[in-house]
Amino acid sequence: MTTTADADANAAGGTADDAERHEAAAHLDLQRWRGRATDPEADRSRAEEATPEAIARLRVRSRALLRDLLRPHRGRLGLAVGLLLAQNAAAMSGPYLVMLGIDRAIGPLRAGDSGPLVAIAGAFAAATVVEYAARRGFLTLSARIGQAVLLELRQRVYGHFLRLSVGFHERYTSGRMISRLTSDLDSIAELLDGGVDSLVLAGLSILSVAGILLWLDLPLAAVTLLAFPFLFLLSRWFARASAGAYRRTREAVSLVIVHFVESLRGIRAVQAYRREPRNQRIFAAVNDDYRQASLRAFRLIATYSPGIKVIGNVTVAVVLGYGGARVLGGAMEVGVLAAFLLYLRRFFEPMQELSQFYNSLQSATAALEKLAGVLDERPGVAEPARPAPLPGGDARGAVEFRSVSFGYRAGAPILSGLDLSVPAGQTVALVGATGAGKSTIAKLLARFHDPDAGTVALDGVDLRDLADAELRRAVVLVAQENHLFSGSVAENIRFGRPGADDAAVQAAARAIGAHDFIAALPDGYATEVRRRGGRLSAGQRQLVAFARAFLADPRVLILDEATSSLDVPTERLVQRALATVLRDRTALVIAHRLSTVETADRVLVLDGGRVVEDGPPERLTATGGRYAALRRQWRDSLV
């Protein structure tokens, strides 16, 4: 596989055609290395379809989101606008007072009367103080509003990401999630930073000046109004072009972030396999794609803003000619023309500000669209609106699968019509080849996914009707890959039960045999695990994860290959602890090591999503089916 992407670095100087061709090539290459996603909606939220209707819908929704975010701040926004107007009025009065001073105070002063000068100086000082206070107040207040909106939005989107199902996150990727919560919010922050200011002031002066123009001379004002269709057309062109362009920058930056985050996270593999040059080429391609997207968007505003200038300046020239002719014809006073021209300039000056505001709004809207798309995503595994209680209040731990069908993709069922009943307190081991559906059963019971058909029930209650908090208190899944959050070892164990005290944390660690290694760490339980537990070995991480599950003390414990990285004595310790722990709990154990399986009350052999053997291990061994064969093979593998 070769790439043409690196040639793109030089495309900046090329023609637009060149750039486009390069872009297409880079795009093609991106498609190839990324591979084809199994889900057509892998790269976006479901709301972000590519149809024009979906785009329009999302746009409306994103503006609604902005309004919704601003609504609680209506009062403060009003106050901010008031302060802004006060500041503006004070600023306007300055030059007026200066002229007043020159016209009215110098004469009396010559006559020895300093009264008018003192009065005007006093008024000037007062205006200055008002301007200072109002400006300071406005800037502080508007920043407060902006920051509050950002905080709310950030938390709302983050909270929603937490609610979305594992399936969503698998296709959306973490890089894209990071991009939404950092880069997209940055561009919204830009709007909030300077938006109110320019919008209000520019709007205000345009309106007031328009009034003055109409009052000064109607025919000239009518000529001025001729500029409006052009302004409108130009703005509409900009609105359409920039919406698409900014949308593309958001998508392009996501890809940069996705690649950046993933490749640095896997830096050990990258370096061990000398992947750096290829990574660099891919990064160059996505980075360049982002550069081109930004360039396109920024060039639109680089065209739009001078375009408005052209309309303004041409209007000034036309008014000058027409007005001059009218004055020559005696239809108008020179003074009126002079004043009209002066105000006309003030009329178009703020248009520049408005175009900047519009630009920020377009950029922020593109980002808001992405966030609105995420917020619009209904959690695939939703919390019930009206949760049902467990009978008797506390979970006993009876698990039932009733004709459960499930597949990760349509048309590729993993389970079809599975029936399985596990009485409370039973330890069940799941055995079978890869793809038999063991982990799928575990994930359905932990409600990472909901079944396509049938129900999974705990103590007779459908998991879909259980409040998440209650379900999680009752059911815990410990998987092969266990994440340690940055923080101390103790905090990571406490993740299982946030209220637990240090003694309980230590007891949990002792119980599964993790205490010795933790105590030997530089700071014992207070040792920081660093990013993703970098300093603990895989086995140690599994031990911490076990201690966490032990502390969580659920009624139903699911172990999916949870001891695969442990050495034999440690695994033995864990299993000893488990035997005590599991005695009065329901447990679902998936392990390739049959040692674990032998301790189970019951073994299920799965094949193609169906239970093909079911019974206590001794009986299955004795009857000589698949389990017996597997067990023989395993025995032989022992030395």
Partner: protein, 616 residues
């Protein structure tokens, strides 16, 4: 700064020269120097044109219109039109040039940082959170881009305007002019003070942005764990802390900016007031004509905007400065593991694959105790050596030294007698095939994941590697090898991922295979198949394996026992099993005499046949 608290050399912009690091980025400006000159010229010319238009208009009104001269009206009107169009054109040129150069520069710096990060060793990445690095290549870079495309330009334009106007004022009326010039002193003091405080706040904000990015990244990583325990509310609270810290800094920062901006407004206004009073008094005394006073004040009004915008420009500049600090912190970190000047490359064909550890010690930076001490170990060409030891004893660390993901602290590792540090990194890593205990997969096509180290591999080689690792399931995926594996390959089962990682390791036909517990997630049946296939490969490849299971030990010719950072025994499996109790304890199917486990626990687990229940 949580990320760098443990001894990463941080090059904080020293307080005396806060702009040093920003200045150091100037070489990125060089390719765009001509464009920058042009845009500066265009900006100045546009300003000139915009000043000229009202003057022409004034001339039209005073001249042709007043004198009823239609020809003059047309001429001057045409001039006004031309000037107006020229102004717009110049603005267009400035913005267009600005856009290309600033966006281009941003992309170049980003690519350079990424390249540098790829060169930095695993030890660096262990300490630095990805979120912190990410915020440097996104948020920080766009701050610098904004400064280069707007802040810097307006700083220059405004300073030029300020100086020009002040010079005119002094010429108009030296005393009042000097008074206005003196107002630069409080402005300077305010700027300096503001700059200092804002510098700190801006740095704090950027660090907190990195923290928030880190939190998000971590959430994405730990999502399943979070779901499994239903700890959404706790994570949300944790995120709320981070977001609120960011919010608070944002508010504090804008409070600083609000205060200073208002002061920047106040100073020229006060000066104006003083000029008004003093000018009026002077005019009353006849020391100044009223016309002069009007001209003076009108000129002075031109100073308000440049001064007012100074607050914003300084803020922008400080943010760019701290952003540059953060970027240089990364770029200044020297890659610790690089090619030695005299490094040589070895051809695959010429390598026999004798691997020797000679007195190797290793200590993670920032930790007091060494993980490995005085390791002496030799793997003969074609031999397979298994490394056995308790959880956390340093087996994986030992393996990571071979492809130089870390460098030894003492002693040396040799390949065919060459110190690995004397080999070119690319050559060494080409010779060594690695599979980690956690299979690292990327959200790319299966093909891309497999050919990580061998982009030139052909379909047959890939097929062979997949067959060896019993990973033919890859062909059954919806798009075959073109299927994108989900992030970190989480849509695959643990066993599937491990088999892909194994296929990747053997695909390079390496001279030396380094496999970290490569079969731990495989079921018994698949494990047997992989073992059989692996045995064929291992026959003529030197290999170092970490194993936990006796079944996998069977692959090895010899076994080494790692205990407390030392190799305490080397020999065949059966010999060690017979003679070394510690080895038996770590690997044996029979439970060791219960030393720490109480009899109660043992009894609880003993099966009906009296056998230990727990075993490989």
């Amino acid at each position: 700064m949580p990320a760098e608290s443990d001894g990463v050399p941080t090059h904080r912009g020293d307080a005396a020269r806060p702009l040093r690091n920003l200045w150091r980025l100037r070489h990125y400006l060089r390719p765009h120097a001509v464009a920058f000159c042009w845009l500066l010229v265009a900006a100045l010319a546009a300003t000139g044109a915009s000043l000229a238009v009202p003057l022409v208009v004034q001339r039209v009104v005073d001249g042709p219109v007043a004198r009823h001269d239609p020809g003059g009206l047309v001429r001057l009107g045409g001039l006004a039109l031309l000037l107006g169009l020229a102004e717009a054109l110049l603005i267009f040129i400035r913005r267009w040039a600005q856009t290309s150069s600033s966006v281009g520069m941003e992309a170049t710096i980003r690519a350079d940082i990424y390249a540098h990060l790829q060169r930095l060793p695993a030890g660096f990445h262990d300490r630095w959170q990805t979120g912190q690095l990410l915020s440097r290549v996104t948020s920080d870079l766009s701050v610098i881009r904004r400064f280069l495309s707007f802040g810097l330009l307006f700083l220059v334009l405004n300073l030029v305007t300020y100086v020009a106007v002040v010079v005119l004022l002094v010429r108009l009326h030296p005393t009042l002019g000097l008074l206005v010039a003196a107002s630069a002193v409080p402005l300077f003091l305010i700027s300096r003070r503001f700059g200092r405080y804002y510098h700190a706040a801006s740095r704090r904000m950027q660090d907190q942005q990195g923290d928030v990015a880190t939190l998000v990244e971590e959430t994405a990583q730990g999502l399943r764990t979070m779901k499994a325990y239903g700890r959404g509310p706790e994570l949300a609270a944790r995120f709320a802390d981070g977001a609120r810290a960011l919010h608070d800094t944002g508010v504090a920062k804008s409070r600083l900016l609000a205060r200073t901006s208002a002061l920047f407004d106040l100073v020229p206004n006060l000066t104006l007031g003083v000029v008004l009073v003093a000018g009026a008094v002077a005019a009353a005394r006849g020391a100044l004509t009223i016309g002069e006073l009007v001209a003076f004040v009108s000129l002075q009004l031109m100073l308000i905007w440049p001064v007012q915008s100074l607050g914003w420009i300084i803020a922008n500049g400080q943010e760019a400065a701290t952003a540059a600090d953060r970027i240089q912190e990364v770029l200044d970190t020297e890659p610790a593991i690089v090619d030695a000047p005299h490094a040589v490359g070895l051809a695959r064909a010429g390598v026999r694959g004798r691997l020797a550890f000679e007195g190797v010690s290793f200590r993670y930076p920032g930790t007091p105790a060494p993980v490995l001490r005085g390791i002496d170990l030799t793997v003969e060409p074609g031999e397979t050596l298994a490394l056995v030891g308790a959880t956390g004893v340093g087996k994986s660390t030992l393996l990571s030294l071979v492809p130089r993901l870390h460098d030894v602290s003492a002693g040396r590792i040799t390949l065919d007698g060459h110190d690995v540090r004397d080999l070119r990194l690319a050559s060494l890593r080409r010779l060594v095939g690695v599979a980690f205990e956690e299979p690292t997969l990327f959200s790319m096509s299966v093909w891309e994941n497999l050919t990580l180290g061998r982009p030139d591999a052909d379909a047959d080689e890939v097929r062979a590697a997949l067959a060896l690792a019993q990973a033919d399931f890859a062909y059954e995926l919806p798009w075959g090898l073109a299927t994108r594996v989900g992030e970190q390959g989480l849509t695959l089962s643990g066993g599937q991922r491990q088999r892909l990682a194994l296929a990747r390791a053997v695909l390079g036909r390496p001279a030396l295979l380094v496999l970290d517990d490569p079969l731990s997630a495989l079921d018994v049946h698949t494990e047997a198949l992989v073992e059989a296939a692996l045995r064929r490969v291992l026959r003529d490849t030197t290999a170092l394996l970490v194993v936990h299971r006796p079944s996998t030990v069977a692959l090895a010719d010899r076994v080494a026992l790692l205990e407390r950072g030392r190799i305490t025994a080397v020999g065949t499996h059966s010999r060690l099993l017979a003679t070394v109790p510690a080895y038996r304890a770590v690997l044996s199917a029979d439970p060791a005499p219960p030393a720490d486990a109480g009899p109660r626990a043992g009894a609880a687990l003993a099966g009906p046949d009296g056998r230990g229940l727990v075993r490989s």
